[in-house]
Amino acid sequence: MHELLLFASVPGQQHHELLQQLTGLTAAQPTHRLERHLVFKAYRRPGSVNTRIGGSQDLQAPEIQRLTKMLNGAMFYTQVVGPVTEKDFGSVPLSQFTARSTVNDKRPAEGDQGNWYDFEDQRWRLEFRDIPEPGARTTVTTRLMANATLPRGDVLTPMNAWGYSFVTEYIMEGDVFIHNDIVLFLYRVLTFPADSHDPQPPRQTLPALREMIPLDRSGGYVLQAVVIVTDGSNPEIMKLASQRLLGLKEQLKSAVKLEQADRLSLDTRVK
């Protein structure tokens, strides 16, 4: 799958106004989204796929060739994303919660008012993003992407087994709008406060949301418009997608300036 993107930076003062404008544009209320992003870095090349070069009998299908090239090419940073809720912030881990509630003869039932965060039950999604395609063929950023669902809970062990080491994590907070096939995500990045927490493994608990520090201290937001296409090699569909994006850009011209991102700033390769 490929994704086509346009970005715009939104000053903090404009945030509320833009939210309203986008609500009007999409004629629907936004969905609030909070995500944990764990950044992983590949430390060894994946097991090489047997590529028997030479011999015309053994011509490989183009997909296999592409896959081989991808796997044996550069190493990438990948992200593991887990959706969280506002309730999860500043809450105690489940183990402590149950320990406390057994004292009070109370059990954490479904829909219990108690605030507890169960890291073992956290859902995860692996997100791979390639470096954007070079060349100014279109005026939108285009890159190869793939998502995969991971098992719940501890994500470190499988990732390590696959040759990835944990680097850091951050939180993305924002609102999602859907406009036809375009997903508009108006978000900001929150970093964890500097505390005594060991930075290496992912956190088992989340600090209170108000303690989180925005990465952009000026309070700015980023507006990201994405169209995902199934087949990036189909020029018609790619053209359609970029036309949709450019149409939106034109529509939002008076509010924000959506533009292509710098290719190298979205480089996910490990150097």
Partner: protein, 671 residues
């Protein structure tokens, strides 16, 4: 010129009446001449106008005045008449183009003249200030005529006579006055026009604001940016109908607001639901409930437009769904959808013109037995369409699937299917209920202790399931899932039970109603119900069969119990202990037949049970001991009368003999 002057005066007066705060004198002050014309001047004037004095008589002058008056009247009338005559649109357009061309022509002419003047002056000046003149000179002139080829000199004016001077000044003064007057008239006219325009605009905007205050969304039209529109349609409708939900708010000349819906039909149309039974219309939904009142206010118009659009969409979606339901017996015609839901009962949907239908007399409606059904269906489909709209919103707010060359299909809404399923299910449940009611009434009147319970529409739960869906949605969702009802009961002996679940699916893989039985017959452990039954008659036959089976086993136990405990003589017709009772056996329980062999005569007695929804009959008959029962056996005693007893569903319980008593009577052994 007396008449235009008076006209303009009127204008001034009306202008003063309109705005008396400030008046700017636009007309030139006309100074009345102090001196009157001298007589010789008058005489000369009359002479030039009328010729000789001899021709001027009082009559001729009077006639002339009258004639002029008439003319004035006629012209006035003409002016009055031409005003209201409406020019139609094409003429209007032509006129517009003509005027436009005239304006263009005048403008071109003016431009040309101005250019000539400029060129002329430039050429003139080019002798003295060539550089400056060169800038303003046109290219053609530069090519055609060399610079400085025109000169001007001051020429001494010819001395004119005093009288000529006076004449000139009088003429120029007259022209000036004329022009000032004309300018003043034009100004006043445009002031009047502007004033009207302003009041019309004010009226228009007040009405627009009133519409907005009522909560309607007022916006610019996307295709006509300078016009205002009001959004009354449903955002989640199919794109065709969503885009039709926008009408422009136009201003007529006097400033009042009209709703311009383009090509949409102006007459309100409503979807009508009718129920037909055996060819007769037995119910019709109330139509006026679904259409706003026929008022003239803009609010009413908007509401009416919205309702008409909704009804149109409803019928469109119904037709779309009816097309895929052709295999389920839904028939569609140009403006009619109909399907059968019970025995001879049909529902019909069609679009009718509300105005027409009010003038029509309901001659074809004979009775209103199904009025409630028709109304319920009418409400039901509308609720379902609103539910579909909500689902559309929900779907729209979800992350879209990746773009692919395949077009996303637009699934048909669930409108007809839930309604049809409900009606069908209801029909089956009611018919089974009434069937069981009648059969159990017979059994009870025969003194049997049995009963059944019903759980109709047990699949529908009204409690909201999740936090995300509202109560309304949960309510509707109950009707979109397969419908289920259950009946369970004991048969004759309390140990034997049956339960039946009626399930109606509204969509594939198995649309329609099916019955699922589970039975518990301790006496017939090998009897198993068929796995799936769909026909009502089949089910009834099966239940009759079950009860018959159970009756045969219970009859055989009655006598065996009695013969084991002969002292128990509670009933009136209790057999004397000296006489033995027949022992009934049921070799053909499936046919409801029992046989007993007399210990005295060795003959066989047959007891047959026949049960239907109307009656239960028990017959007994002696069979010959030999295998030729058809041949009359001579020399024997005449056969005892065969016993027959019938219980009907109309019998009251307790009035008739009990089954056990009849059986005991029949079980008497005789020679």
């Amino acid at each position: 010129m007396p008449s235009p002057l008076s006209d303009t005066d009127r204008q001034i007066n009306s202008a003063a009446a309109m705005d008396n705060s400030f008046m700017l004198p636009l007309r030139p002050p006309v100074d009345k001449r102090d001196h009157k014309d001298t007589l010789p001047v008058r005489i000369a004037q009359i002479n030039t106008q009328r010729g000789s004095f001899r021709n001027v008589t009082e009559q001729s002058l009077q006639a002339e005045i009258d004639c002029q008056k008439e003319k004035g009247d006629v012209s006035d009338d003409e002016g009055g008449e031409t005003k209201p005559t409406e020019v139609d649109a094409t003429e209007h357009l032509e006129l517009l183009y003509k005027r436009r061309a005239e304006i263009m022509q005048s403008a071109v002419q003016a431009h040309m003249e101005a250019t000539f003047a400029l060129d002329f002056l430039s050429l003139l000046l080019s002798k003295h200030v060539p550089r400056q003149a060169d800038l303003s000179m046109s290219a053609q002139l530069k090519q055609a005529i060399p610079h400085g080829s025109l000169n001007a000199e001051v020429v001494k004016a010819r001395q004119s006579s005093e009288s000529a001077k006076q004449d000139t000044s009088a003429v120029s003064r007259g022209w000036k006055l004329e022009s000032f007057n004309a300018a003043a008239n034009k100004l006043l006219k445009s002031a009047k026009r502007l004033e009207n325009e302003v009041s019309a605009e004010t009226k228009y905007w007040i009405e627009v604001l009133r519409v907005k205050e009522k909560g309607w969304k007022v916006c610019r039209l996307p295709k006509e940016r300078q016009a205002l529109g009001v959004q009354f349609g449903f955002l989640e409708a199919t794109p065709v109908f969503r885009d039709r939900g926008l009408a422009s708010l136009r201003r007529v000349d006097d400033g009042s607001l009209i709703l311009d819906r383009g090509i949409a039909p102006a007459r309100p149309r409503v979807l009508r639901v009718r129920v037909k039974k055996d060819g007769l219309i037995t119910g019709c939904s109330e139509l006026s409930r679904f259409m706003a009142g026929n008022g003239n206010s803009i609010e009413d118009r908007i509401l009416q437009a919205r309702d008409t659009l909704f009804e149109d969409e409803l019928f469109h979606e119904l037709s779309r769904e009816a097309r895929i339901m052709g295999n389920m017996g839904v028939r569609t015609r140009q403006n009619l959808i109909e399907f059968e839901f019970g025995k001879g009962e049909e529902v019909m949907f069609d679009m009718v013109d509300l105005d027409e239908i009010f003038t029509q007399v309901d001659s074809d409606t004979r009775s209103y037995g199904h009025g409630v059904t028709a109304n319920a269906v009418a409400y039901g489909i509308r609720i379902l369409l609103m539910y579909a709209h909500r689902q559309n919103l929900r779907r729209r707010k979800q992350t879209p699937p990746p773009l692919s060359p395949k077009k996303r299909p637009l699934p048909e809404y669930l409108l007809l299917r839930p309604v049809a399923a409900y009606l069908q299910h209801n029909f089956h449940v009611r018919s089974l209920d009434s069937f069981l009611g009648e059969v159990y009434q017979i059994l009870r009147s025969a003194g049997l202790e049995c009963g059944y319970t019903t759980g109709t529409f047990s699949s529908i739960k009204f409690a909201p399931k999740s936090d995300t869906a509202s109560t309304t949605e949960c309510l509707v969702e109950g009707f979109l899932a397969p419908l289920e009802s259950s009946f369970s009961g004991t048969i004759v002996t309390t140990a034997s039970t049956f339960s039946v679940k009626i399930r109606t699916n509204l969509s594939p893989p198995s649309p329609g109603t099916e019955y699922e039985f589970s039975i518990n017959l301790p006496d017939f452990p090998h009897t198993q119900p068929p796995s799936r039954m769909g026909l009502k008659d089949e089910v009834e036959t099966f239940i009759i069969h079950l009860i018959t089976l159970n009756l045969t086993s219970s009859i055989s136990t009655i006598t065996s119990q009695k013969s084991r405990a002969p002292s128990d003589g509670s009933s009136l017709t209790a057999p004397r202990p000296s006489r033995k009772l027949l022992e009934w056996e049921a070799p053909f329980a499936n046919y409801g037949e029992l046989l007993a062999v007399s210990r005295i005569s060795g003959r066989t007695k047959k007891l047959s049970i026949s049960l239907s929804r109307d009656e239960l009959t028990i017959r007994t008959k002696w069979k010959s001991a030999y295998s030729e029962p058809s041949k009359p056996i001579t020399g024997r005693r005449p056969e005892p009368q065969p016993l027959s007893y019938t219980w009907k569903s109309t019998d009251e319980s307790g009035k008739k003999l009990k089954l056990s008593d009849v059986v005991l009577e029949a079980s008497k052994d005789s020679r």
